[in-house]
Symmetry: C2
Subunit: 656 residues, 2 copies
Amino acid sequence: MLPRGRPRAMGAAVLLLLLLLVVGFFLFGRDPDYGLGTTATLDEDPYRSRNLSASSPQLLLPPKCEVMLHVAIVCAGYNSSREIITLTKSLLFYRKNPLHLHLITDAVARNILETLFRTWMVPAVVVSFYDAEELKPLVSWIPNKHYSGLYGLMKLVLPSILPPSLARVIVLDTDVTFSSDIVELWALFDHFSGVILLWLDRLQQTGWEQMWKVTAKRELLTLMATSLADQDIFNAVIKEHPHLVHPLPCVWNVQLSDHTRAERCYLEAADLKVIHWNSPKKLRVKNKHAEFFRNLHLTFLGYDGKLLRRELFGCPNQFPPGAEQLQQALTQLDEEEPCFEFRQQQLTVHRVHITFLPHQPPPPQPHDVTLVAQLSMDRLQMLEALCRHWPGPMSLALYLTDEEAQQFLHFVETSPVLSMRKDVAYHVVYRDGPLYPVNQLRNVALAQALTPYVFLSDIDFLPAYSLYDYLRASIEQLELDSRRKTALVVPAFETLHYRFSFPNSKAELLTLLDAGSLHTFRYHEWPQGHSSTDYSRWREAQAPYSVQWSADYEPYVVVPRDCPRYDPRFVGFGWNKVAHIIELDAQEYEFLVLPEAFSIHLPHAPSLDISRFRSSPTYRNCLQALKEEFHQDLSRRYGSAALKYLTALQQARSRA
Amino acid sequence: MLPRGRPRAMGAAVLLLLLLLVVGFFLFGRDPDYGLGTTATLDEDPYRSRNLSASSPQLLLPPKCEVMLHVAIVCAGYNSSREIITLTKSLLFYRKNPLHLHLITDAVARNILETLFRTWMVPAVVVSFYDAEELKPLVSWIPNKHYSGLYGLMKLVLPSILPPSLARVIVLDTDVTFSSDIVELWALFDHFSGVILLWLDRLQQTGWEQMWKVTAKRELLTLMATSLADQDIFNAVIKEHPHLVHPLPCVWNVQLSDHTRAERCYLEAADLKVIHWNSPKKLRVKNKHAEFFRNLHLTFLGYDGKLLRRELFGCPNQFPPGAEQLQQALTQLDEEEPCFEFRQQQLTVHRVHITFLPHQPPPPQPHDVTLVAQLSMDRLQMLEALCRHWPGPMSLALYLTDEEAQQFLHFVETSPVLSMRKDVAYHVVYRDGPLYPVNQLRNVALAQALTPYVFLSDIDFLPAYSLYDYLRASIEQLELDSRRKTALVVPAFETLHYRFSFPNSKAELLTLLDAGSLHTFRYHEWPQGHSSTDYSRWREAQAPYSVQWSADYEPYVVVPRDCPRYDPRFVGFGWNKVAHIIELDAQEYEFLVLPEAFSIHLPHAPSLDISRFRSSPTYRNCLQALKEEFHQDLSRRYGSAALKYLTALQQARSRA
């Protein structure tokens, strides 16, 4: 029996292969294409791989379009859901065959990965989900304390959840990075087919399930072990049944744990195929070649995933749902048209990674409110202050590149304030195109809010310290659950000072306002945006009061989470909130200003989009065109009731 | 004789190969390792490459460490210098052999690429430069109007400039992207060696140089051609001497011009090896697979070049100059030390791409001043306003990722204000690490300023409209060329308003100041930064006046361009300018405040670094440690003269 500390490296070295055998074994008998009794062709010393593409003489690779490669991965929780993306990118980067991913997930990972793959729209990739809950009872009797826990052990029982029609599958850990085409690994099935079938007979007599269970139980008894990881069990089974295993050439599992003997292998190899981050230290592992491996990993960590939306070249294409129509719509756009950029941006489907970081959904409470906002990298520094001002749940959409998403991760991890908060859900929407898709971002954040009410805010605003409590109390008092079409207005102010002492009450705010250190929001530049809020009435108000819509009104409001979505046609600067408020008004929401609510805008440099708006007549013309199209749609949907908005727009145009 | 329009595609298809043959030919006779008379092994139809790695059965690849691959590229001007980087990244990404780049460049490209490769520090890459000027006379007699001009024709005469010891070289255009290891292309030399030597005899009788010249001249005569591109000449030579050519498998030159017949090839191929953007439309080419190719190209366009600093795995390493020491210094840092991030950031060598965009150096003028500043993506929107306020030369360092550099390019190209200005030099310093390396950026911008004087400013400041003229006049009047150690102080103000009407004169500025719409810079938060400037004296001043250094003084100054550099140890927020002003004072610069000069800071959100400074005690402690080390160095260098700075620091500490 192997001891459990040191052989882990060896165990892992054969893990990949063993699973390949095991899963192959369970389903192999049904596949008559594999010739019985052919001999193994790959019996050479794996360390002699220099100058030989040992594992895969190219002529034996399957044809590029015809073979669907099957990959199974167990993935649970927020962090593994991030890891698996880097693995997938490296897979997709090198692959030239259609790929079927079989993902065994918990509810969290499934939620994240379903959205991700749907929006990723990679051609010739099929993703199937399997509920890991079903496997739990099969392995939960095994005491274990490995960091991957029960989910690690699930690899032992994978065959019982995968469809019987699946003849072969490659099982991967989430912490591996490919640096070559997985088809070369797939090709090993052919090399091994003889070997596998040879042992199949014997295996069938015992049954794999029986075999590992017996071994695991004996291990627990005889060694007084208190816990077992999957690899411990594999090691033990291998020890008893050495014929099960044919060692995988080491280049297919270059391990980076601290005590690995892998270096003997990889220094000789012509080519590394798969890097396995099987150390709890992961990227921070100390290894004299760590820098080299890290760079391979970072390549895919920061790789722009949208570039993997490329077709399988020369293969008949199998577009994911919607992708073909989208592609057609995009190619039909006229590049010479002045608003081409706007049209293109509107059509863009962004990859979306919901709950990028661990998140604790708020316990269900009937009057709870989620703050909803969106931001890009240049507003990260607002997050800490926002957390101090808003102790409740938040749903934030971040517009980032893949690389920025990693910077963001680092930022949160190194901030005590942010890393403490588990009720803030961060949703990464990946950048694509030159215009900020503000309303698409808002819709992502809004769709992920889990409380009955949402406070639709902007990232540059800090709410009154009391606002979260006050809103919940108001929602309860006003019995909003029985009058769903109400929008509570939170009056907006602004300061021009970087540092100022935030008012603790309405009284303090009014003092600052009178002293000129605070202003009502955009008082000088865009008074119509908030004039309906009626700040002078608000000064005196003791109770909520109703106000009427007027042109260009864009207050910050609290509404039920099933409120209308934002109109995604508005990209870049301008009119994106105005259109949403019109939609609320058209749907007969009542605007009710709260007498004690306020939020304050902090100064920042004008955004790139507002600068372009100001300096480019084309930009302004395109925005005008968007407005007009919006109004046409409005008339179509609301008929004569929408007339007042059009009239208001025309009046505004004639004034301009 | 082939007509010149349509066969360009075909000509280009054989171009790569032909050069391979031609250059091989010139130097081949000297290489006894190539067996005479061996037969060609690659005579199959290149379209039959499906499922065969036709061009390179892997077993024949040269061993990974031992063979140095030689690549020659002609590169001239700013835009080709950007193109060649994407090509190089794709080369480096897949290569597993040492690489020697032979770059035939004009002065502009050499200046850019020398800096780039020196700071890139890629192991196992040698770069040699050759002066394209030397080749010009050899081809300038050929009339041509191809977009690559004379530099395109230089490929005809490459052998005359490359060292005679060079046996074989692969010649590449700057607009190709590799999607496989170049060693596979190199391996074709072996396949062709027999063929090449066979034709060599014939070629030697004529001489290549003679051959193409005769053909080119006859072409010009008989076809009444007014211009020839290199490919026209190659086509004509090939037509006359078909034995010269062995067609390269099409996967090695997948062309994207509009009328290419390449699709016939690549739809069948298992693997595309090299993409050639040989259409004047480049990335915007209309081709039904354009999206696919674009993605391959964008992969390397946006690829983080620092990840290519990886060693050649398993090879004895040949570190570029300084890289080994740097690596050692980095590994000796203690990751648990609280200021680890600071230490690491200080040691980081950033890749630097000077003059990223076309630039017209200012004509030499004895009193000219360059505005020097640095920025990152979140300040791009300042550039247009800055251009309006400062009509003179600027040298700006931008801290960007590779991907952001492309966004920046797009931003400049779509801005009429910016694309008009050719006297603004943009230097890209590639991001690496979490702290903003402010002083390293300043030093890059400063080193690239080409006028005798520099105005050391910050990106958030807009200078008075008259400042550029006024500074030049003042420099002349004050006869600064004879009193080199003078620092002209430009008084700094700030506004808290996004939009405000910029004062056209000192009188207007004073009015705004009295009205409270303007303040002296950081009057409330950090008065000591500018108190020495003595604003009340400035109000009344009619002539320049001298002021004394005091603790924490950090004015914006105009100094000769050979002034002391900034101390690169200051990364992130804090004290970076203060240290520089101390250095000036220690070197006995006189601070002279200009009575009519001013510049105004615009509002923006606090940077990430200042936010971290404010919220993190560790950050503040690390800055304190940096200050103390700076003072120790100062004492070492200036002895007792540096005592006053230390005293001032200690007084400040005791006050804090």
